[in-house]
Protein backbone atom coordinates (compact mmCIF):
# COMPACT_ATOMS: atom_id res chain seq x y z
CA UNK A 1 0.00 0.00 0.00
CA UNK A 2 1.50 3.26 -0.99
CA UNK A 3 -1.27 5.47 0.26
CA UNK A 4 -2.26 6.77 -3.16
CA UNK A 5 -5.85 7.98 -2.94
CA UNK A 6 -7.95 5.40 -4.78
CA UNK A 7 -11.09 7.31 -3.96
CA UNK A 8 -12.60 9.19 -6.84
CA UNK A 9 -13.12 12.26 -4.70
CA UNK A 10 -13.56 14.21 -7.97
CA UNK A 11 -16.09 16.35 -6.17
CA UNK A 12 -19.30 15.62 -8.05
CA UNK A 13 -20.04 11.99 -7.14
CA UNK A 14 -22.32 12.33 -4.13
CA UNK A 15 -22.31 9.60 -1.46
CA UNK A 16 -24.87 11.19 0.83
CA UNK A 17 -26.98 14.28 0.60
CA UNK A 18 -29.20 15.90 3.18
CA UNK A 19 -31.61 18.53 2.05
CA UNK A 20 -33.26 20.69 4.63
CA UNK A 21 -33.51 17.71 6.99
CA UNK A 22 -34.80 18.15 10.54
CA UNK A 23 -35.16 15.59 13.31
CA UNK A 24 -37.64 15.98 16.13
CA UNK A 25 -38.13 13.89 19.25
CA UNK A 26 -41.59 14.95 20.40
CA UNK A 27 -41.39 18.70 20.77
CA UNK A 28 -37.59 18.70 21.02
CA UNK A 29 -35.76 19.60 17.81
CA UNK A 30 -32.53 17.61 17.68
CA UNK A 31 -31.46 18.68 14.20
CA UNK A 32 -32.75 21.64 12.26
CA UNK A 33 -32.57 22.27 8.53
CA UNK A 34 -29.41 20.37 7.72
CA UNK A 35 -28.33 20.65 4.10
CA UNK A 36 -25.13 18.91 3.07
CA UNK A 37 -23.58 17.07 0.20
CA UNK A 38 -20.93 14.52 1.05
CA UNK A 39 -18.77 13.58 -1.91
CA UNK A 40 -17.99 9.95 -2.63
CA UNK A 41 -14.73 8.87 -1.11
CA UNK A 42 -14.44 11.86 1.19
CA UNK A 43 -13.53 11.71 4.86
CA UNK A 44 -15.72 13.96 6.98
CA UNK A 45 -15.34 14.45 10.68
CA UNK A 46 -18.16 15.92 12.74
CA UNK A 47 -17.47 18.18 15.73
CA UNK A 48 -19.75 20.13 18.00
CA UNK A 49 -20.70 20.77 21.61
CA UNK A 50 -22.50 18.07 23.60
CA UNK A 51 -26.11 17.70 22.64
CA UNK A 52 -25.69 19.28 19.22
CA UNK A 53 -27.01 16.18 17.49
CA UNK A 54 -23.79 14.65 16.16
CA UNK A 55 -24.94 11.13 16.89
CA UNK A 56 -28.46 11.95 15.76
CA UNK A 57 -27.06 12.99 12.41
CA UNK A 58 -25.43 9.58 11.91
CA UNK A 59 -28.68 7.94 13.00
CA UNK A 60 -30.57 10.07 10.49
CA UNK A 61 -28.27 9.00 7.67
CA UNK A 62 -28.41 5.34 8.73
CA UNK A 63 -32.23 5.14 8.77
CA UNK A 64 -32.40 4.70 12.54
CA UNK A 65 -34.36 7.93 12.99
CA UNK A 66 -36.57 9.41 10.29
CA UNK A 67 -36.42 13.08 9.26
CA UNK A 68 -39.44 15.09 10.46
CA UNK A 69 -39.11 17.23 7.36
CA UNK A 70 -36.63 17.31 4.52
CA UNK A 71 -34.95 14.35 2.84
CA UNK A 72 -31.84 12.23 3.05
CA UNK A 73 -30.43 10.35 0.09
CA UNK A 74 -27.58 7.89 -0.07
CA UNK A 75 -26.14 7.27 -3.53
CA UNK A 76 -29.42 8.41 -5.01
CA UNK A 77 -31.49 6.01 -2.93
CA UNK A 78 -33.66 6.55 0.12
CA UNK A 79 -32.01 5.64 3.42
CA UNK A 80 -34.25 2.58 3.68
CA UNK A 81 -33.26 1.30 0.24
CA UNK A 82 -29.63 1.98 1.08
CA UNK A 83 -30.00 0.09 4.36
CA UNK A 84 -31.55 -2.92 2.65
CA UNK A 85 -28.77 -2.87 0.03
CA UNK A 86 -26.13 -2.57 2.79
CA UNK A 87 -24.72 0.60 1.24
CA UNK A 88 -23.62 1.85 4.64
CA UNK A 89 -22.24 0.37 7.85
CA UNK A 90 -22.12 1.73 11.37
CA UNK A 91 -19.35 1.56 13.97
CA UNK A 92 -20.55 2.41 17.48
CA UNK A 93 -18.60 3.90 20.37
CA UNK A 94 -18.87 0.53 22.06
CA UNK A 95 -17.69 -2.34 19.87
CA UNK A 96 -21.10 -4.09 20.35
CA UNK A 97 -19.63 -7.51 19.61
CA UNK A 98 -21.75 -10.51 20.51
CA UNK A 99 -19.81 -12.00 23.45
CA UNK A 100 -20.65 -15.62 22.57
CA UNK A 101 -19.17 -15.34 19.10
CA UNK A 102 -15.49 -15.49 18.19
CA UNK A 103 -13.87 -12.53 16.43
CA UNK A 104 -14.36 -14.21 13.05
CA UNK A 105 -17.99 -15.14 13.79
CA UNK A 106 -18.66 -11.55 14.79
CA UNK A 107 -17.26 -10.31 11.50
CA UNK A 108 -19.52 -12.79 9.69
CA UNK A 109 -22.66 -11.61 11.51
CA UNK A 110 -23.81 -9.17 8.78
CA UNK A 111 -23.70 -12.00 6.23
CA UNK A 112 -26.14 -14.03 8.36
CA UNK A 113 -28.59 -11.27 9.22
CA UNK A 114 -31.39 -10.22 6.89
CA UNK A 115 -31.47 -13.56 5.08
CA UNK A 116 -34.96 -14.35 6.32
CA UNK A 117 -36.19 -11.25 4.52
CA UNK A 118 -34.71 -12.56 1.31
CA UNK A 119 -32.21 -9.72 1.06
CA UNK A 120 -29.45 -10.14 -1.48
CA UNK A 121 -26.58 -9.60 0.91
CA UNK A 122 -23.56 -8.23 -0.92
CA UNK A 123 -20.33 -9.99 -0.18
CA UNK A 124 -17.27 -7.82 -0.27
CA UNK A 125 -14.14 -8.62 -2.26
CA UNK A 126 -12.45 -9.53 0.99
CA UNK A 127 -13.39 -12.57 3.06
CA UNK A 128 -14.02 -12.05 6.79
CA UNK A 129 -10.65 -13.64 7.46
CA UNK A 130 -8.87 -11.21 5.13
CA UNK A 131 -10.66 -8.31 6.81
CA UNK A 132 -9.37 -9.40 10.21
CA UNK A 133 -5.93 -9.44 8.67
CA UNK A 134 -6.52 -5.97 7.25
CA UNK A 135 -7.28 -4.59 10.72
CA UNK A 136 -4.18 -6.31 12.13
CA UNK A 137 -5.83 -9.23 13.91
CA UNK A 138 -4.33 -12.07 11.94
CA UNK A 139 -4.19 -15.21 14.08
CA UNK A 140 -6.78 -13.89 16.56
CA UNK A 141 -9.85 -14.97 14.59
CA UNK A 142 -10.88 -17.63 17.14
CA UNK A 143 -10.46 -15.33 20.14
CA UNK A 144 -13.62 -14.52 22.08
CA UNK A 145 -14.39 -10.82 22.64
CA UNK A 146 -13.60 -11.02 26.38
CA UNK A 147 -10.11 -12.21 25.48
CA UNK A 148 -9.45 -9.12 23.38
CA UNK A 149 -8.40 -5.64 24.51
CA UNK A 150 -10.66 -2.64 23.91
CA UNK A 151 -8.68 -1.59 20.86
CA UNK A 152 -8.78 -5.07 19.39
CA UNK A 153 -12.53 -5.31 19.93
CA UNK A 154 -13.03 -2.04 18.12
CA UNK A 155 -10.92 -3.34 15.23
CA UNK A 156 -13.16 -6.41 15.02
CA UNK A 157 -16.12 -4.00 14.85
CA UNK A 158 -14.45 -2.17 11.96
CA UNK A 159 -13.82 -5.45 10.13
CA UNK A 160 -17.49 -6.35 10.68
CA UNK A 161 -18.54 -2.99 9.25
CA UNK A 162 -16.47 -3.62 6.10
CA UNK A 163 -17.69 -7.16 5.42
CA UNK A 164 -20.44 -6.13 3.00
CA UNK A 165 -18.12 -3.60 1.36
CA UNK A 166 -20.19 -0.52 2.20
CA UNK A 167 -19.85 2.71 0.24
CA UNK A 168 -20.39 4.76 3.36
CA UNK A 169 -18.89 4.16 6.79
CA UNK A 170 -20.61 5.90 9.71
CA UNK A 171 -18.59 6.06 12.90
CA UNK A 172 -19.90 7.39 16.20
CA UNK A 173 -16.87 8.23 18.38
CA UNK A 174 -15.46 4.76 17.71
CA UNK A 175 -12.19 5.41 19.54
CA UNK A 176 -13.57 7.65 22.29
CA UNK A 177 -13.13 5.08 25.05
CA UNK A 178 -9.58 4.09 24.12
CA UNK A 179 -6.27 5.32 25.47
CA UNK A 180 -4.23 7.86 23.53
CA UNK A 181 -1.70 5.39 22.09
CA UNK A 182 -4.28 2.87 20.89
CA UNK A 183 -6.31 5.71 19.49
CA UNK A 184 -3.38 7.04 17.42
CA UNK A 185 -2.71 3.58 16.09
CA UNK A 186 -6.31 2.97 15.13
CA UNK A 187 -6.57 6.42 13.52
CA UNK A 188 -3.67 5.58 11.24
CA UNK A 189 -5.10 2.17 10.48
CA UNK A 190 -8.47 3.68 9.67
CA UNK A 191 -6.90 6.18 7.27
CA UNK A 192 -5.07 3.36 5.57
CA UNK A 193 -8.30 1.37 5.17
CA UNK A 194 -10.01 4.49 3.86
CA UNK A 195 -7.31 5.11 1.26
CA UNK A 196 -7.31 1.49 0.22
CA UNK A 197 -11.05 0.87 -0.01
CA UNK A 198 -12.20 4.30 -1.15
CA UNK A 199 -15.08 4.17 1.35
CA UNK A 200 -16.73 7.45 2.28
CA UNK A 201 -16.35 8.16 5.99
CA UNK A 202 -18.52 10.15 8.38
CA UNK A 203 -16.73 10.21 11.71
CA UNK A 204 -18.14 11.80 14.86
CA UNK A 205 -15.58 12.80 17.48
CA UNK A 206 -15.13 14.94 20.58
CA UNK A 207 -11.47 15.51 19.92
CA UNK A 208 -10.37 18.48 17.83
CA UNK A 209 -6.94 16.95 16.99
CA UNK A 210 -8.61 13.75 15.88
CA UNK A 211 -11.04 15.70 13.71
CA UNK A 212 -8.21 17.60 12.02
CA UNK A 213 -5.95 14.58 11.65
CA UNK A 214 -8.58 12.41 9.98
CA UNK A 215 -10.91 14.76 8.21
CA UNK A 216 -10.65 16.25 4.75
CA UNK A 217 -13.62 18.26 5.86
CA UNK A 218 -14.70 19.09 9.39
CA UNK A 219 -18.40 19.67 9.88
CA UNK A 220 -18.98 21.95 12.86
CA UNK A 221 -22.44 21.68 14.40
CA UNK A 222 -24.10 24.21 16.67
CA UNK A 223 -26.40 23.17 19.53
CA UNK A 224 -30.03 24.00 20.50
CA UNK A 225 -31.17 23.12 17.95
CA UNK A 226 -28.48 21.23 16.05
CA UNK A 227 -27.56 23.15 12.92
CA UNK A 228 -24.60 23.34 10.59
CA UNK A 229 -22.27 26.07 11.81
CA UNK A 230 -19.62 25.69 9.17
CA UNK A 231 -17.67 23.21 7.08
CA UNK A 232 -13.90 23.62 7.34
CA UNK A 233 -11.74 22.12 4.62
CA UNK A 234 -8.54 20.68 6.03
CA UNK A 235 -5.80 21.09 3.48
CA UNK A 236 -3.00 18.97 4.90
CA UNK A 237 -0.59 16.78 2.92
CA UNK A 238 -1.67 13.18 2.23
CA UNK A 239 -1.06 10.59 3.47
CA UNK A 240 -1.64 11.93 6.94
CA UNK A 241 0.48 10.82 9.85
CA UNK A 242 0.41 11.49 13.60
CA UNK A 243 3.56 13.63 13.30
CA UNK A 244 1.45 16.14 11.41
CA UNK A 245 0.10 17.22 14.78
CA UNK A 246 3.34 19.04 15.52
CA UNK A 247 3.23 21.17 12.37
CA UNK A 248 2.12 24.83 12.47
CA UNK A 249 -0.60 24.24 9.83
CA UNK A 250 -2.14 21.56 11.99
CA UNK A 251 -2.12 23.87 15.00
CA UNK A 252 -3.67 26.65 12.96
CA UNK A 253 -6.61 24.40 12.08
CA UNK A 254 -6.89 23.16 15.66
CA UNK A 255 -6.97 26.61 17.22
CA UNK A 256 -9.40 27.86 14.57
CA UNK A 257 -11.76 24.96 15.34
CA UNK A 258 -11.35 25.44 19.07
CA UNK A 259 -12.46 29.07 18.76
CA UNK A 260 -15.30 28.05 16.48
CA UNK A 261 -16.42 25.43 19.01
CA UNK A 262 -16.31 28.00 21.79
CA UNK A 263 -18.82 30.35 20.18
CA UNK A 264 -21.26 27.57 19.31
Amino acid sequence: MDGAPHNQAGGRDIAASLSNASVKFGTFTALSEISLEIGAGEFWTILGPSGCGKSTMLRLVSDLVPPAIGAVEILGKTTEQARLAREFAFVFQDATLLPWRSALKNVELPLEMGRKRGLAIPRGDRTPLELLELVGLKGREDAMPHELSGGMRQRVAIARALVCQPKLLLMDEPFGALDEMTRDRLNMQLLEIWRETGVTCLFVTHSIPEAVLLGQKVLMLRAHPGRVKEVVEIDLPEPRHVELRETPEFNRYSSYLRKSLEDC
Binding site: R59, L84, R140
Partner: protein
Protein backbone atom coordinates in the same frame (compact mmCIF):
# COMPACT_ATOMS: atom_id res chain seq x y z
CA UNK B 1 6.25 4.20 4.48
CA UNK B 2 6.11 5.03 8.14
CA UNK B 3 2.37 4.42 8.46
CA UNK B 4 2.47 0.76 7.50
CA UNK B 5 5.65 0.00 9.38
CA UNK B 6 4.33 1.07 12.74
CA UNK B 7 1.36 -1.33 12.57
CA UNK B 8 2.84 -4.85 13.11
CA UNK B 9 4.74 -3.71 16.23
CA UNK B 10 1.59 -2.37 17.71
CA UNK B 11 -0.41 -5.58 17.35
CA UNK B 12 2.49 -7.68 18.68
CA UNK B 13 2.47 -5.67 21.89
CA UNK B 14 -1.22 -6.39 22.37
CA UNK B 15 -0.80 -10.14 21.76
CA UNK B 16 1.69 -10.46 24.62
CA UNK B 17 -0.90 -9.47 27.20
CA UNK B 18 -3.17 -12.27 25.94
CA UNK B 19 -0.50 -14.89 26.74
CA UNK B 20 -0.37 -13.63 30.31
CA UNK B 21 -4.11 -14.14 30.68
CA UNK B 22 -3.79 -17.82 29.66
CA UNK B 23 -1.07 -18.59 32.20
CA UNK B 24 -3.18 -16.96 34.89
CA UNK B 25 -6.07 -19.43 34.36
CA UNK B 26 -3.74 -22.39 35.09
CA UNK B 27 -2.66 -21.03 38.47
CA UNK B 28 -6.31 -20.26 39.21
CA UNK B 29 -7.10 -24.00 39.12
CA UNK B 30 -4.50 -24.95 41.72
CA UNK B 31 -5.59 -22.15 44.03
CA UNK B 32 -9.18 -23.39 43.75
CA UNK B 33 -8.18 -26.89 44.83
CA UNK B 34 -6.39 -25.60 47.89
CA UNK B 35 -9.44 -23.42 48.64
CA UNK B 36 -11.59 -26.56 48.81
CA UNK B 37 -9.41 -28.07 51.55
CA UNK B 38 -10.52 -25.54 54.17
CA UNK B 39 -14.32 -26.10 54.07
CA UNK B 40 -13.87 -29.89 53.81
CA UNK B 41 -11.61 -29.85 56.89
CA UNK B 42 -14.12 -27.71 58.78
CA UNK B 43 -16.93 -30.14 57.96
CA UNK B 44 -14.91 -33.10 59.26
CA UNK B 45 -14.17 -31.28 62.50
CA UNK B 46 -17.86 -30.38 63.00
CA UNK B 47 -18.88 -34.03 62.44
CA UNK B 48 -16.33 -35.11 65.04
CA UNK B 49 -17.67 -32.61 67.58
CA UNK B 50 -21.19 -33.91 66.92
CA UNK B 51 -20.07 -37.53 67.38
CA UNK B 52 -18.21 -36.82 70.62
CA UNK B 53 -20.99 -34.55 71.94
CA UNK B 54 -23.74 -37.15 71.39
CA UNK B 55 -21.68 -39.90 73.07
CA UNK B 56 -20.44 -37.70 75.92
CA UNK B 57 -23.90 -36.36 76.89
CA UNK B 58 -25.51 -39.75 76.22
CA UNK B 59 -28.22 -38.31 73.97
CA UNK B 60 -30.76 -41.04 73.07
CA UNK B 61 -30.45 -42.16 69.43
CA UNK B 62 -34.11 -41.34 68.60
CA UNK B 63 -33.50 -37.69 69.53
CA UNK B 64 -30.14 -37.23 67.80
CA UNK B 65 -28.22 -40.12 66.28
CA UNK B 66 -24.45 -40.01 66.09
CA UNK B 67 -22.89 -39.66 62.62
CA UNK B 68 -21.67 -43.26 62.86
CA UNK B 69 -25.28 -44.47 63.46
CA UNK B 70 -26.39 -42.58 60.36
CA UNK B 71 -23.45 -44.00 58.45
CA UNK B 72 -24.40 -47.52 59.49
CA UNK B 73 -28.00 -47.03 58.28
CA UNK B 74 -26.71 -45.58 55.01
CA UNK B 75 -24.73 -48.77 54.52
CA UNK B 76 -27.27 -51.34 55.79
CA UNK B 77 -30.45 -49.76 54.40
CA UNK B 78 -28.91 -48.63 51.13
CA UNK B 79 -31.29 -50.75 48.97
CA UNK B 80 -34.30 -49.26 50.81
CA UNK B 81 -32.92 -45.73 50.41
CA UNK B 82 -32.28 -46.22 46.69
CA UNK B 83 -35.77 -47.70 46.18
CA UNK B 84 -37.12 -44.43 47.52
CA UNK B 85 -34.48 -42.25 45.85
CA UNK B 86 -35.45 -43.03 42.24
CA UNK B 87 -39.13 -41.96 42.46
CA UNK B 88 -38.07 -38.65 43.99
CA UNK B 89 -35.36 -38.31 41.36
CA UNK B 90 -37.94 -38.83 38.59
CA UNK B 91 -40.41 -36.34 40.08
CA UNK B 92 -37.62 -33.76 40.55
CA UNK B 93 -36.30 -34.09 36.99
CA UNK B 94 -39.70 -34.10 35.29
CA UNK B 95 -40.87 -31.22 37.50
CA UNK B 96 -37.66 -29.30 36.77
CA UNK B 97 -38.14 -29.74 33.02
CA UNK B 98 -41.86 -28.97 33.03
CA UNK B 99 -41.60 -25.91 35.29
CA UNK B 100 -38.65 -24.40 33.47
CA UNK B 101 -39.90 -25.07 29.95
CA UNK B 102 -43.24 -23.47 30.87
CA UNK B 103 -41.41 -20.48 32.39
CA UNK B 104 -39.17 -20.05 29.33
CA UNK B 105 -42.08 -20.21 26.88
CA UNK B 106 -44.14 -17.74 28.91
CA UNK B 107 -41.12 -15.42 29.21
CA UNK B 108 -40.77 -15.46 25.41
CA UNK B 109 -44.46 -14.61 25.09
CA UNK B 110 -44.08 -11.76 27.60
CA UNK B 111 -41.14 -10.28 25.73
CA UNK B 112 -43.01 -10.37 22.43
CA UNK B 113 -46.29 -9.06 23.75
CA UNK B 114 -46.52 -6.38 26.40
CA UNK B 115 -50.24 -7.14 26.55
CA UNK B 116 -49.56 -10.72 27.63
CA UNK B 117 -47.09 -9.52 30.24
CA UNK B 118 -49.50 -6.97 31.67
CA UNK B 119 -52.32 -9.52 31.73
CA UNK B 120 -50.50 -12.49 33.25
CA UNK B 121 -47.51 -11.21 35.24
CA UNK B 122 -49.57 -10.12 38.29
CA UNK B 123 -51.22 -13.55 38.32
CA UNK B 124 -47.80 -15.21 38.21
CA UNK B 125 -46.71 -13.06 41.16
CA UNK B 126 -49.86 -14.01 43.06
CA UNK B 127 -49.33 -17.74 42.47
CA UNK B 128 -45.76 -17.33 43.64
CA UNK B 129 -46.91 -15.83 46.94
CA UNK B 130 -48.90 -18.97 47.86
CA UNK B 131 -46.67 -21.19 50.03
CA UNK B 132 -45.96 -24.44 48.23
CA UNK B 133 -46.94 -26.37 51.37
CA UNK B 134 -50.38 -24.74 51.26
CA UNK B 135 -51.02 -25.36 47.60
CA UNK B 136 -49.70 -28.94 47.51
CA UNK B 137 -52.83 -30.57 49.06
CA UNK B 138 -55.04 -28.68 46.61
CA UNK B 139 -53.04 -30.01 43.68
CA UNK B 140 -53.21 -33.56 45.05
CA UNK B 141 -56.99 -33.18 45.32
CA UNK B 142 -57.17 -31.99 41.72
CA UNK B 143 -54.75 -34.40 40.06
CA UNK B 144 -54.99 -37.41 42.36
CA UNK B 145 -52.14 -39.19 44.12
CA UNK B 146 -50.27 -40.12 40.91
CA UNK B 147 -47.23 -38.67 39.22
CA UNK B 148 -48.99 -35.63 37.73
CA UNK B 149 -49.72 -33.85 41.02
CA UNK B 150 -46.13 -34.41 42.20
CA UNK B 151 -44.66 -33.08 38.96
CA UNK B 152 -46.93 -30.03 39.08
CA UNK B 153 -45.80 -29.27 42.64
CA UNK B 154 -42.11 -29.66 41.77
CA UNK B 155 -42.59 -27.67 38.56
CA UNK B 156 -44.51 -24.87 40.24
CA UNK B 157 -41.70 -24.16 42.69
CA UNK B 158 -39.19 -23.82 39.77
CA UNK B 159 -41.46 -21.69 37.66
CA UNK B 160 -41.30 -18.19 39.07
CA UNK B 161 -37.54 -17.56 39.44
CA UNK B 162 -36.99 -18.82 35.90
CA UNK B 163 -39.80 -16.67 34.52
CA UNK B 164 -38.43 -13.50 36.10
CA UNK B 165 -34.81 -14.19 35.13
CA UNK B 166 -35.67 -15.24 31.60
CA UNK B 167 -37.70 -12.08 30.98
CA UNK B 168 -34.80 -10.01 32.26
CA UNK B 169 -32.32 -12.01 30.18
CA UNK B 170 -34.28 -11.62 26.96
CA UNK B 171 -34.48 -7.87 27.59
CA UNK B 172 -30.80 -7.54 28.48
CA UNK B 173 -29.71 -6.73 24.92
CA UNK B 174 -28.06 -3.29 24.75
CA UNK B 175 -29.79 -0.57 22.70
CA UNK B 176 -26.72 -0.30 20.47
CA UNK B 177 -26.87 -4.01 19.64
CA UNK B 178 -30.51 -3.56 18.65
CA UNK B 179 -29.50 -0.60 16.48
CA UNK B 180 -26.89 -2.81 14.85
CA UNK B 181 -29.57 -5.42 14.16
CA UNK B 182 -31.77 -2.76 12.61
CA UNK B 183 -28.97 -1.48 10.38
CA UNK B 184 -28.45 -5.07 9.25
CA UNK B 185 -32.22 -5.24 8.50
CA UNK B 186 -32.52 -8.30 10.74
CA UNK B 187 -35.94 -9.91 11.04
CA UNK B 188 -37.65 -10.39 14.40
CA UNK B 189 -36.82 -14.10 14.44
CA UNK B 190 -33.15 -13.44 13.63
CA UNK B 191 -32.97 -10.95 16.49
CA UNK B 192 -34.55 -13.55 18.76
CA UNK B 193 -32.44 -16.57 17.83
CA UNK B 194 -29.13 -14.87 17.19
CA UNK B 195 -29.19 -12.07 19.78
CA UNK B 196 -31.90 -12.25 22.46
CA UNK B 197 -31.79 -15.96 23.22
CA UNK B 198 -27.98 -16.23 23.61
CA UNK B 199 -28.00 -13.00 25.66
CA UNK B 200 -30.48 -14.57 28.06
CA UNK B 201 -28.47 -17.74 28.72
CA UNK B 202 -26.40 -16.44 31.68
CA UNK B 203 -29.66 -15.22 33.31
CA UNK B 204 -31.40 -18.52 32.54
CA UNK B 205 -28.63 -20.57 34.12
CA UNK B 206 -28.62 -18.57 37.32
CA UNK B 207 -32.36 -19.37 37.56
CA UNK B 208 -31.80 -23.03 36.71
CA UNK B 209 -29.32 -23.28 39.58
CA UNK B 210 -32.03 -22.11 41.94
CA UNK B 211 -34.52 -24.50 40.34
CA UNK B 212 -32.12 -27.47 40.64
CA UNK B 213 -32.41 -27.34 44.42
CA UNK B 214 -35.99 -26.12 44.78
CA UNK B 215 -37.44 -28.83 42.51
CA UNK B 216 -36.20 -31.40 45.06
CA UNK B 217 -38.02 -29.50 47.81
CA UNK B 218 -41.16 -29.61 45.67
CA UNK B 219 -40.78 -33.33 45.02
CA UNK B 220 -40.33 -34.14 48.71
CA UNK B 221 -43.25 -31.96 49.79
CA UNK B 222 -45.43 -33.67 47.17
CA UNK B 223 -44.49 -37.06 48.65
CA UNK B 224 -45.58 -36.00 52.12
CA UNK B 225 -49.18 -36.05 51.00
CA UNK B 226 -50.45 -39.57 50.57
CA UNK B 227 -47.47 -41.10 48.78
CA UNK B 228 -46.09 -44.51 49.75
CA UNK B 229 -42.71 -44.29 47.99
CA UNK B 230 -40.10 -41.59 47.64
CA UNK B 231 -37.72 -39.82 49.98
CA UNK B 232 -40.57 -37.59 51.19
CA UNK B 233 -42.68 -40.60 52.16
CA UNK B 234 -39.67 -42.18 53.86
CA UNK B 235 -39.06 -39.00 55.87
CA UNK B 236 -42.64 -39.06 57.19
CA UNK B 237 -42.49 -42.79 57.84
CA UNK B 238 -39.18 -42.78 59.73
CA UNK B 239 -40.22 -39.72 61.77
CA UNK B 240 -43.44 -41.35 63.01
CA UNK B 241 -41.59 -44.57 63.81
CA UNK B 242 -38.77 -42.78 65.69
CA UNK B 243 -36.21 -44.25 63.31
CA UNK B 244 -33.97 -41.20 63.58
CA UNK B 245 -30.86 -42.67 61.94
CA UNK B 246 -32.98 -43.61 58.90
CA UNK B 247 -34.54 -40.12 58.91
CA UNK B 248 -31.09 -38.53 58.91
CA UNK B 249 -29.90 -40.86 56.17
CA UNK B 250 -32.96 -39.94 54.08
CA UNK B 251 -32.29 -36.25 54.59
CA UNK B 252 -28.70 -36.90 53.53
CA UNK B 253 -29.93 -38.62 50.35
CA UNK B 254 -32.27 -35.69 49.62
CA UNK B 255 -29.50 -33.16 49.85
CA UNK B 256 -27.35 -35.51 47.74
CA UNK B 257 -30.05 -35.36 45.06
CA UNK B 258 -30.03 -31.55 45.19
CA UNK B 259 -26.25 -31.47 44.92
CA UNK B 260 -26.38 -33.87 41.97
CA UNK B 261 -28.86 -31.70 40.07
CA UNK B 262 -27.06 -28.48 40.99
CA UNK B 263 -23.74 -29.89 39.79
CA UNK B 264 -25.31 -31.06 36.52
CA UNK B 265 -26.68 -27.57 35.84
CA UNK B 266 -23.33 -25.96 36.74
CA UNK B 267 -21.41 -28.28 34.43
CA UNK B 268 -23.90 -27.68 31.61
CA UNK B 269 -23.51 -23.94 32.17
CA UNK B 270 -19.72 -24.19 31.90
CA UNK B 271 -20.13 -26.03 28.59
CA UNK B 272 -22.77 -23.72 27.14
CA UNK B 273 -21.92 -20.25 28.48
CA UNK B 274 -18.32 -19.87 27.47
CA UNK B 275 -18.14 -16.09 27.61
Amino acid sequence: MAVTESLPDASAAETETEVEIESRTASLLTSRLSNAALPVGTAIVLLMIWQIGVRFFEVPTYIAPAPTDVGAVLRDEFPLLMRNFWPTFTVSIVGFLAGNIAAILIAVAFVHSRMAERAFFPIAVFINTIPILAVAPILVLIFGPGLIAKVVIAGLICFFPTLVNMVRGLQSVSPQTLELARILSASKSEVFWKIRLPSSLPFLFSALKIAATTCVIGAIVSEWIGADVGLGALIIDSTFNYRSPLLYATVFMSSGLSVLLFASVTITEKLVVRW
